[in-house]
Symmetry: C2
Subunit: 413 residues, 2 copies
């Protein structure tokens, strides 16, 4: 049977990110990968989790169907967790999702008509672009996603304001990762957070605040979430256990006004009925024993050491006249700019094979492939401290070699 | 903030099934629920699962991100499992999904343009209708789903053939639960399976074969899956661990030609990235130790006793001039027909409160609410044997009382 005429128009908007190819290349033996965004498996609290499996695994309810909104004990723990972080929500404003990815997918499905525009930071998390395109795009050429630039203080809200003044229709929502942005590694300042909320009020749009990294902070000097400053239900907040505990459970959560939450729940009935009960029950027990806050403290110290090792290696090996980099206060990534070099030259498959180090080229995080050409994302959560040192050294060498070749016009991936 | 103008047109096609209200009513104390479709939690093999948690829980990889297609050891076990059941597939024709619900959602997204028609059995599984509507409906009024009646031998393929002859465009796919149909409890005969395949070839459509109950059989006299007879990649096969092990892991799988499987994987990247690793690893280990086949044998005996208890009680309490029922050879449900009674009278909230027994009225499983009015679905997997006995007794009483009232014109739910 030939299925080529069977696929929907919509399905043609789906495409696998080329980051996946890079991640494949990075798996080759001998390659140090600074490309991915995985937590270090050494952080998984196996001993405590085994204690919890031993308890939770005996309960019949963890193997049964559950309600779509999420496992009740987990949702109750989450309300307390959020309250401590300045986010007051009720049970009917909280829904457990299968990864934040599902939250993003559901929001795109619920909010975007074809032709509706979503604003995103530029660069941004690639995984968010796919659902936004899938449901919002007018056509293959008109994706209806627009980028607002970021700088060292996060999204440039002045550019946003200027844009809002000019357009006839404001976006349905502005998607932001304000805290330890992916890929930028930066934090949106408190003033900009406030201004974003003011603009949302003035122009009547919603803010989708994606906060996977907020807990992985190396300083107390980080502004509160935008959601915690929201008095009128403008902010839809996405949190996840993927970075603060373990991604393999696929347990995340969305906090939103009741009318949005109800719709997410109905869409989730159609999508997967509910998130796996077992993982939710393990996390609920992990939280109720007080393990999560302890674990977060541990992660902050653990990843701070890696961040320090990375910055130290960059300091040693990078030519400061050529390479500039963000000094992240948290999260998993830094973002580098290489003067006079298309970073595809040091990140394509042949470069990975040659230099034995992998990063993600900046262009991967932009809406058009001719932006961010001098930029790249560097991950420090997954490699060991030794690998960070050697990886940066190799990267510095690759930059030097490719810059000295001087021919950056034709780019091989 | 008022979100009422923010929701997409598409989102208005999403609605919660009224089965959910009945299931809520059925939770009241003292009510025996024959309404749900849950496995009996006493079947969950806790002891074996604890052994497996003790092994699997120590592996770091089960807490980490995994590939979208599914946990490799599980996929390898599944190929062997399917091979034993006459389905030969390769790794690139198999994808793990977050429940079969996700498989259905993904197929609807990938295959249905607005206005494309899907055929379903009539009555059918309500959870399938939501994604089909969401992506295929032309408007709120034109849902583009058409029903093919079933009888004691499953889908009436002669009616299907007649319909196909008349229509200009064949459907994109025909959705069927051929083995122990939900809600009908019937099995599609082997001749009809073959004819369905022939029609699919002749009119060039695909068959979506949903097989959640196939392993729960009480006789060897059950025809092989349609997929196992498919030589040209027409059948997209959905299997799940929800009934043959435990629904709480949300682990299911789709077997389809490579080009479909690839698209499902890309759509899944946008939907939830991957199914929870932990549950997949537990099931893989459960299978590799040979526990699954043992467990399936146990389930067949276990649920056969319940089926027998139900049929026995029906034999004792039902007036055979008034009530007819299917004698299921497997699965979780039987389907009854009550002469001269709208089954809403015995299944609405007030009836549940009065008679202390809950079933799902037939109308819930049809595309329009004026069909199946004399029918109802009765579950026997979840109630205990005593509850089955008492439940049927109460149901017989309810039928007698409501029929004798004679006024079935106004139906209160």
């Amino acid at each position: 049977m030939d299925y080529s005429d069977f696929f929907s128009e919509r399905s043609k908007l789906l495409s696998s990110s080329f980051i996946r190819d890079i991640l494949q290349a990075a798996k080759q033996p001998g390659v140090i990968s600074l490309a991915g965004g995985l937590p270090d498996p050494d952080t998984f609290p196996i001993e405590k989790l085994m204690e919890i499996h031993n308890e939770v695994g005996k309960k019949k309810e963890v193997y049964q169907y559950d309600v779509t909104s999420g496992y009740r004990p987990l949702r109750e723990e989450l309300l307390k967790f959020l309250e401590k972080r300045g986010i007051s929500a009720s049970l009917d404003e909280l829904v457990v999702t299968t990864g934040s990815q599902q939250g993003l997918f559901s929001l795109a499905l619920l909010l975007l008509n074809r032709g509706d525009v979503a604003y995103v930071e530029h660069p941004t998390f690639v995984g968010a672009l796919m659902p936004f395109k899938l449901f919002g795009a007018k056509s293959m050429d008109i994706l209806n996603i627009e980028g607002i630039p970021i700088d060292e203080n996060g999204m440039d809200v002045d550019v946003l304001e200027e844009k809002l003044r000019k357009v006839e229709e404001p976006p349905k929502f502005v998607y932001t990762i304000p805290t330890f942005q992916n890929p930028g590694g930066v934090v949106m300042s408190i003033d900009r957070r406030k201004k974003l909320l003011d603009l949302a009020h003035e122009y009547n749009f919603s803010i989708v605040e994606d906060d996977p990294y907020g807990e992985i902070r190396f300083t107390d000097d980080v502004p509160p979430s935008i959601k915690s400053m929201d008095n009128e239900g403008r902010v839809i907040y996405l949190g996840t256990f993927s970075k603060m505990l373990a991604p393999g459970f696929r347990v995340a959560f969305t906090v939103a006004p009741k009318e949005i939450t109800e719709k997410i729940i109905v869409s989730k009935q159609a999508m997967d009925l509910h998130t796996a009960t077992y993982g939710q029950a393990v996390i609920a027990e992990f939280m109720s024993r007080g393990f999560l806050e302890e674990h977060i403290s541990f992660l902050r110290e653990f990843y701070k050491k890696k961040r320090d090792a990375l910055l130290n290696a960059m300091d040693i090996y990078f030519n400061k006249d050529v390479v500039k980099w963000v000094k992240p206060k948290g999260g998993l990534f830094t973002w580098i700019e290489v003067e006079g070099l298309n970073t595809m030259m040091i990140s394509g498959r042949s470069a990975v094979e040659k230099y034995k180090v992998a990063i993600v080229p900046g262009a991967a995080f932009y809406l058009s492939k001719d932006e961010g050409l001098n930029m790249a994302r560097v991950n420090y959560s997954y490699p060991s401290i030794d690998e960070l040192h050697t990886g940066v050294k190799r990267l510095a060498y690759a930059i030097e070699m490719e810059r000295s070749r001087g021919d950056n016009s034709s780019v091989m991936v």
